[in-house]
């Protein structure tokens, strides 16, 4: 009984979903349906002006549509933007633009670079408090010749010109680093130290949700020895905003 109810629910759900695909009216003389989501895929069908198409799904900048007679194919975003929605206005597909980039709040990314003489792989998540100021949480793995480290830190980052495509930023943060000397070295112990850092970097909006980012950070490791350790870090990578 339950199974039957579930099946019915599922079918109803599917049916409901099928009816919910947004529709647009072709306003250009025609739109071209490709056999796949890419420039190189052949055009096998065209839908003429005034006809409706259902939008089934989107992949990157391609839309899978179904024409009135049931033909399904992929249409480039440039052509979809020349269609009209049911209110007779130009369809808006909410594509990410520079403005969205400036207004976005959440971001995550991965960077790679050099930490002292070692390789560093980092991932971070960031939340914007204001267009200029954001809070970032970083996790890094440092892979060196003599030791490996894990580092976690929290940063405050000030973006100087959030509305610019490429903007410099200043960053300040603190965290902890756990260092594990290589197993091949004799008489070694793991250690955990506090770190603080300042840095400068540049972020550039590329396309869609995509941002490229490069930065320099100067770290001070508060060791239990007599001298603190100073380490310079250079890295670059990609991030996405939401």
């Amino acid at each position: 009984m339950l199974v039957l109810a579930l099946i019915q629910f599922f079918i109803a759900g599917v049916g409901h979903c099928a009816g919910r695909h947004p529709e647009v009216v072709v306003a250009d003389p025609f739109i071209e349906l490709h056999s796949g989501p890419g420039r190189g895929y052949p055009i096998f069908y065209v839908v003429d002006r005034g006809e409706n198409v259902e939008i089934l799904k989107r992949r990157t900048d391609w839309f899978k549509v179904r024409s009135a007679n049931g033909t399904e194919g992929w249409v480039a975003r440039g052509q979809m933007q020349e269609t009209l929605n049911p209110t007779g206005e130009k369809a808006d597909f909410g594509g990410q633009t520079l403005a969205d980039y400036s207004e976005s709040r959440w971001e995550m990314g991965g960077l790679y670079g050099a930490f002292g003489g070692a390789n560093v792989i980092s991932a971070y998540g960031s939340f914007s408090l204001t267009p200029n100021l954001s809070l970032e949480l970083w996790g890094s793995q440092v892979l060196g010749r003599f030791s490996n480290s894990y580092m976690a830190s929290i940063n405050a980052t000030h973006l100087f010109f959030p509305e610019w495509r490429a903007s410099p930023y200043f960053t300040l943060g603190t965290g902890a680093i756990h260092t594990k000397p290589k197993a091949t070295l004799v008489a070694t112990t793991d250690r955990t130290d506090q770190v603080a850092h300042v840095g400068l970097g540049v972020r550039t909006y590329l396309t869609r949700r995509f941002v490229v980012r490069a930065e320099y950070k100067s770290y001070v490791v508060f060791t239990s020895r007599n001298d603190n350790e100073e380490i310079e870090e250079w890295k670059a990578g990609f991030s996405f905003f939401f």
Binding site: P37, G40, R58, R59, K64, T87, Y112, R209, F240
Partner: protein
């Protein structure tokens, strides 16, 4: 006399005219104050971007064989996550694991063991950038065409093996077929390159992996 009459007439007309116009003005003001008889029913439509199912993410698993230099060829399993940025570029995060076997040296010497059983396990993760170099279609029989792509991928990561974590560069090529829009089958060849100094001397190890896998677009 005539002129006096004319003045009187003109004065009267002016007065009446003025009175009338004042009346009309007052009436207009009054009309404006009263609610209109017919309310204009213009419904404001909320124009929202249509909700379209966007499928730019890929998640899945793979299994295959991985050759770890000096430590034999063994089954490898892993998981993969990808995000398609454009029709060409994608970023990928992957992690895998394999068990390695004894080296020939260990086997021949009989007793000498280079690694503990725990150290023989190799795990890796990597972050890579990929490019769909040759998108295309695969034809199965006369009626079935599936989209496909040959891609190149390369990136950085870390490999945990023989008691240490090692910085690892990976690169390779893959072939992706999509039997449906949401399911992809992969055939991948990767080289994982890291430095190892297990025998006291640094050496660059090339660890070739080939695997098949599947991912689901969402």
């Amino acid at each position: 006399m005539e002129s006096r009459l004319l003045v009187l007439f003109l004065t009267l007309t002016m007065l009446i005219g003025a009175g009338c116009s004042r009346d009309r003005f007052a009436q207009e003001v009054e009309e404006a104050r009263q609610p209109p008889v017919v309310e204009p029913e213009v419904e404001r439509r909320d124009i929202k971007p249509p909700k379209i199912d966007t499928e730019d993410f890929e998640i899945g698993g793979f299994g295959g064989l991985m050759s770890v230099e000096d430590f034999g060829v063994n089954p490898v399993v892993g998981v993969r996550f990808a995000y398609h940025i454009t029709e060409g570029f994608f970023v990928e995060a992957a992690a895998g694991q394999t068990d390695t076997e004894e080296t020939s040296f260990e086997r021949l010497s009989g007793a000498a063991q280079l690694l503990t059983p725990d150290e023989r396990k190799l795990t890796y993760y990597n972050l890579s950038l990929g490019y769909n170099l040759f998108p295309g279609e695969v034809f199965v029989g006369q009626r079935w065409a599936m989209n496909s792509s040959i891609y190149f991928v390369g990136g950085v990561g870390s490999t945990k093996f023989a008691g240490d974590e090692r910085f690892t560069i990976n690169f390779g090529t893959g072939f992706r077929i999509l039997p449906t829009d949401w399911l992809a089958l992969h055939l991948d060849f990767r080289d994982h390159v890291f430095d190892i100094n297990l025998l006291g001397q640094d050496k660059t190890a090339h660890n070739l992996e080939s695997h098949i896998g599947f991912t689901i677009f969402f």
